[in-house]
């Protein structure tokens, strides 16, 4: 009994939309707790700053729990194919670790972190180049590098020259090349 129940629970918890729904349930619960910790929703019959958040938090939590129950029920319906799907899910999960979307997330995070240190031009040219590689593979990388530089230069013209947005320049001290002062 237990051996057959175990994979069903695992499948339900780790596959499909369940992790996302679980995360949203946790966020709703944390939000609700924070709302109640802030101040009581009613103070001498007067509505306070935590009234609306408490209301929304309760509604969100109820909806998330209902969604979890619904997903759990739906997963029971496919219990017969469980073992097969479980192994597929494992494969999908490991593949998702290196998915192009995940790589793009990491590259964008790195770009944002480097933006103010490397300056707009250098960081943007590198970022656009890597994004192009993610979208079209590594072939013709030289032409991609040239296009990436051109796009960054156009972006510079658009933001800095046309719209007067002050973009960060290369910070040599951050690279250990300046006087550090």
């Amino acid at each position: 009994m237990s051996s057959s129940a175990s994979p069903t629970r695992r499948h339900w918890l780790i596959s499909g939309a369940t992790p996302l729904t679980l995360a949203m349930t946790a966020i709703s619960a944390l939000y609700l707790i924070s709302a109640f910790q802030m101040t009581p929703p009613l103070d001498n019959g007067r509505l306070t700053a935590s009234f609306f958040p408490a209301l929304i938090g309760i509604i969100a939590l109820v909806l998330c729990v209902a969604q979890l129950v619904s997903q759990h029920r739906a997963s029971r319906g496919v219990a017969a194919d469980d073992a097969k799907e479980s192994s597929t899910t494992d494969g999908d999960a490991s593949a998702a670790l290196f998915s192009p979307a995940l790589r793009l997330m990491l590259v964008t995070a790195l770009y944002i972190l480097a933006f103010s240190h490397l300056g707009y031009l250098l960081s943007s040219a590198l970022y656009v180049f890597v994004v192009m590689l993610l979208f079209a593979g590594r072939d013709k990388w030289v032409s991609k590098a040239v296009i990436a530089c051109a796009i960054s230069a156009l972006g510079y013209g658009l933001f800095e020259q046309l719209f007067n947005v002050h973009l960060p320049a290369l910070d040599l001290s951050a690279l250990g090349l300046g006087n550090g002062g």
């Binding site: 996302l20 949203m24 709703s28 958040p53 998330c64 192009p100 964008t108 947005v165």
Partner: protein
């Protein structure tokens, strides 16, 4: 009358080359973005949003209006040529346009689509110009309790319009409302949910939410669609070349479609546009169904009947005029595009609502003039001048396109506050929106929850304070009761009653465009 005169005198602004450049450029960008499967006019507007910081507000709003209009008709290009609607609003156009393309009449189908869009867009804009002042005046009758019920009505209708996903839509709407509560409370000097992060004290800016939700999440979805992109490029390259002389529909064909079809579809589109959450696809669908229902030859639909194209395109462009009514008069956006237009206004210190139409209509009039100008002139001109090159334009290299979009999106989020924190927040919100879209959580309700949240909270607290905490005030106040009853009616028709089913002779042509919805 004063407002109508102001709108027509605003046409003079289009003689300014700078303004005309932004309006035309906005239209062309909107057409290209809506024609390419995977991109939308919403994305074009989201990318434009940071630039509005540097643009004059009138110019920015006029450019937004032309992008909006272009977004509704540009989708018909790929809907007709490769049976994949570039935008959801052109889904019904594919049903008739693609069979016409298969028998060598693709250019004519695009001509009919463009003519229908021109009629629908122009009449929709005129209806907006004529009716908006009266609706704004009527909206002054809605008081605090009624305003709360109205905002709740809008949010609930947008949620129930996500049929089949209502619970998920409700969850994302709640998430949007939660995000809106971050920062200083509007009525009490108390910082909420800032977790000691000073950047959050002023609340979450609209820019990261819009760019994250529509641009970053789209990039993350599209990066996994490389094979699909290659297939679409192959299909486009294999399509027959369009010739300029074939774009103009003969007068006999227009007469056969009938003025009644154009007018009825326009009216349907306009009415649908005024409803929150409905949008161009719903407008086009209902007008198409009505045309099939009242046609003497219903069996000819689905096989390349230009009347179906005219109905769908007139309706979806008329939606533009209708959708701006609740946004301008009540400050309630009904779809992502009007939500972003609202964002442009808010960024520039303009608060939409009844007061705006009463005291600041000089700011709104040019936008409506641009909407009418785009429908009347830019739709036919763009088709005639750019039509033969459409197929070449939409086969633009995706790596170049997405590289530029990624740069504009991330740097654009920096523009508002010069803050790396906001750039990171854009990425985080983009990842959240991506995960939601991957699991069928609608993100439009997140955005509208975020936008409507502050007003909903303010009016709810005020209404309950005025009634000493008695929630029955929402039933006993006439304006509020009106919206409560309206909410119940809409929940019944949109959420409970069985939806309208489209009966088609050929199931193949019906299913293909629906499959082609890439990341919309």
């Amino acid at each position: 009358m004063e407002f109508i005169a102001q709108v027509f005198s605003s046409f003079a602004l289009l003689l300014d080359p700078v303004i005309l450049f932004y309006v035309v450029a906005g239209f062309v960008i909107g057409t290209i973005f809506s024609a390419i499967p995977g991109l939308t006019a919403t994305l074009a507007l989201a990318l434009l949003l940071p630039l509005t910081y540097s643009l004059d507000v009138t110019t920015a709003l006029m450019a937004c209006a032309s992008i909006y209009m272009a977004g509704m008709c540009g989708g018909s290009i790929t809907a007709t040529t490769i049976n994949i609607p570039g935008a959801p609003s052109s889904m019904m156009t594919a049903l008739e346009g693609y069979p016409m393309q298969q028998r060598g009449e693709g250019a004519l189908a695009l001509g009919h689509a463009s003519f229908g869009s021109m009629i629908g867009g122009s009449l929709g804009a005129l209806l907006l110009i004529v009716l908006a002042p009266f609706i704004a005046e009527a909206s002054l009758l809605v008081k605090t309790t009624g305003k709360c019920a109205l905002i709740a009505f809008a949010l609930i209708v947008i949620v129930v319009a996500q049929r089949g996903n209502i619970r998920k839509a409700s969850i994302t709407a709640c998430l949007g409302l939660m995000l809106a509560t971050v920062g200083l409370d509007a009525m009490q000097p108390l910082a909420r949910f800032t977790f000691s992060i000073s950047e959050l004290t002023a609340g979450i800016d609209l820019m990261p939410v819009i760019i994250g939700t529509f641009a970053i999440s789209e990039l993350l979805i599209q990066v996994g669609n490389r094979k699909k992109d290659a297939a679409i490029r192959q299909q486009l390259k294999a399509s027959k070349q369009l010739k300029r002389r074939d774009f103009i529909p003969p007068l006999s064909a227009i007469r056969e479609i009938g003025l009644g079809c154009y007018l009825k579809s326009t009216l349907i589109g306009y009415m649908v546009g005024t409803l929150p959450g409905a949008g161009g696809s719903m407008g086009g669908f209902l007008a198409y169904v009505e045309t099939v229902r009242t046609s003497k030859k219903p069996e000819s639909f689905g096989k390349g009947n230009p009347q179906g194209i005219a109905a769908a395109e007139s309706a979806n462009n008329a939606v533009c005029g209708g959708a701006l009514v609740p946004m301008l008069t009540f400050g309630i956006p009904g779809d992502p595009v009007t939500a972003i237009v609202l964002g442009v206004m808010v960024i520039n210190g303009i608060q939409p609502g009844p007061q705006l139409m009463a005291s600041q209509f000089g700011l709104i009039a040019p936008m409506l003039a641009s909407l009418l100008f785009s429908a009347l002139n830019l739709i036919p001109l763009t088709l005639y001048l750019m039509g033969p090159y459409f197929l070449r334009i939409v086969t633009i290299r995706k790596d170049v396109l997405y590289g530029a979009i990624a740069l504009l999106a991330v740097v654009g989020s920096f523009v508002a506050t010069y803050s790396v924190f906001h750039m990171m927040m854009t990425l985080v919100l983009g990842i959240v929106a991506y995960l939601m879209r991957k699991h069928d959580y609608p993100v439009i309700t997140l955005l509208l929850g975020f936008i409507l949240g502050p007003n909903l909270e303010e009016f709810l607290r005020r209404a309950l304070t005025l009634s000493n905490g008695n929630p029955m005030t929402f039933i006993t106040t006439p304006d509020s009761l009106f919206f409560v009853v309206l909410t119940v009616v809409f929940v019944y028709f949109l959420g409970i009653r069985k939806p309208v089913q489209l009966k088609q002779a050929d199931p193949k042509t019906q299913s293909q465009p629906l499959k082609g919805q890439v990341g919309k």
